[in-house]
């Protein structure tokens, strides 16, 4: 290993968006440091944020499992009743031969959110219990890749839009999964508000 050459020359940080080198300053709790040139977020000081993130993401996992498997809503039209969960919706699209469509929905609302939650939980648990681990950097890179494609919150808004569209034509019973997805959306926002990826990277010391 060529260790000495890889060390940061000083404790400088570079802005992610404009590459400007800056010296970190001390922040009050909950404060953000912004780039002085482009106003981009540089880093944040949030004491205890990892514990909060862990609590929120544990809650999100439970709600996610309910949200995927239980019915989102039940529809009644002249005595006929249909109900659908996220899982059965994807299954039906697949059976109808709409493979691309089914894969797109399954990936962005089930597979990638599941990956995001699993990775987030394992990283937070590993940091809490062992402080360092060699596979944490790999998991964090995976998280960086998966995050933009995990779209549960958008799916939830889509359900609300569908709800309003259907309210005119049929009787609707809202299922437990709708509440779960809504709750998961709140928890995911809370999780990402209490830590950011940069903050997690700071917990990993250069090897």
């Amino acid at each position: 290993m060529r260790l000495p050459e890889r060390r940061p020359p000083t404790n400088l940080i570079a802005c992610d968006e404009c590459d400007l080198l800056q010296r970190p300053i001390a922040l009050p709790a909950g404060g953000w440091a912004l780039c002085r040139r482009c106003d981009g977020p540089l880093y944040r000081y949030a004491p205890g944020s990892l514990d909060r993130a862990l609590a929120f993401s544990l809650g999100a996992v439970v709600l996610f499992l309910i949200g995927v498997t239980f019915p989102i809503m039940e529809l009644e039209l002249q005595g006929n009743v249909t109900s659908s969960s996220l899982y059965t919706a994807v299954q039906q699209l697949w059976n109808d031969g709409l493979y691309v469509f089914a894969v797109l929905i399954a990936a962005t609302t089930m597979l990638l959110p599941a990956l995001e939650l699993t990775v987030m939980l394992s990283v937070l648990l590993a940091l809490r219990m062992w402080r360092t681990s060699t596979w944490i950097p790999k998991l964090l890179r995976l998280l960086t890749l998966a995050r933009p494609w995990s779209m549960v919150e958008i799916f939830f808004m889509g359900v609300l839009v569908a709800l309003v569209k259907l309210a005119h034509m049929a009787d609707i019973v809202i299922g437990v999964a709708l509440w779960s997805l809504g709750g998961m959306m709140v928890l995911l926002v809370a999780t990402s508000a209490s830590f950011n990826l940069r903050h997690l990277w700071e917990q990993v010391s250069p090897q």
């Binding site: 590459d19 040139r37 659908s84 950097p137």
Partner: protein, 212 residues
């Protein structure tokens, strides 16, 4: 704040694009980040070329996404094909103005503005323009933030198709427009990811480039 601030690249330092660690390049061979193992580079590789390729593909698919129906409604009253625009019009006429506004913004305004914004960013970056870098950076930030929300309509179609299965009273079937629309969203997200916002600031950097 003066004398003129320096970027990592101008000093020959790598700021890791994955984890942000600032480090010196290794003396021989390709460098990789000492913290996360990503390969180090000053700017995203072929950023403008890759972002443009995704963008052109998104423009092309934007046409079938809007012309072709995204779903088909079959009821006792007959058969009806809905495009994205007609879906918004339906919501508006049925009195759900707030929702019509949300869907209008998410599935018409955002995709169009996103494609135009990426075009502007790519052209100015290609010609190394020093025009309003702060505003362009904010535009890029906005594109990254709201671009995903265009998936909304794709999900609405999927949910309607899953629930409205009352043969022969009423059924909803997804049509190919929805797939094209999803592809436009994915491609424009890929374009924004491939674009390197650092390129916006490079022309404003008047430091001598001794390390290139």
């Amino acid at each position: 704040m003066r004398p003129s601030p320096s970027t990592a690249k101008a000093l020959g330092l790598y700021a890791c694009h994955t984890c942000g660690l600032v480090s010196r390049p290794a003396r021989e061979g390709a460098s990789s980040c000492g913290r996360c193992g990503s390969s180090l580079r000053f700017r995203k590789t072929n950023s403008i070329e890759r972002a443009s390729a995704y963008l052109v593909a998104a423009y092309i698919l934007y046409i079938p996404a809007n012309v072709l129906p995204i779903m088909e409604t079959q009821s006792v009253l007959g058969r009806e094909e809905n495009t994205i625009v007609s879906g918004v019009a339906y919501l508006w006429h049925s009195g759900s103005w707030l929702l019509a506004l949300v869907v209008f913004i998410a599935s018409i305004v955002v995709p169009v503005l996103k494609l135009l914004a990426m075009t502007l960013l790519l052209i100015t970056a290609h010609y190394q323009s020093g025009w309003r870098p702060l505003e362009r950076t904010k535009l890029y930030r906005l594109v990254e933030l709201v671009g995903r929300w265009s998936m909304l309509d794709v999900y609405v179609v999927a949910i309607l198709a899953a629930l409205v299965q009352f043969h022969p009273l009423a059924t909803v079937t997804p049509r190919s427009g929805a797939v094209y629309f999803g592809a436009v969203v994915v491609l424009s997200m890929l374009s924004a990811m491939a674009f390197d916002p650092r390129l916006i600031w490079d022309p404003t950097q008047k430091v001598s480039r001794t390390h290139e």
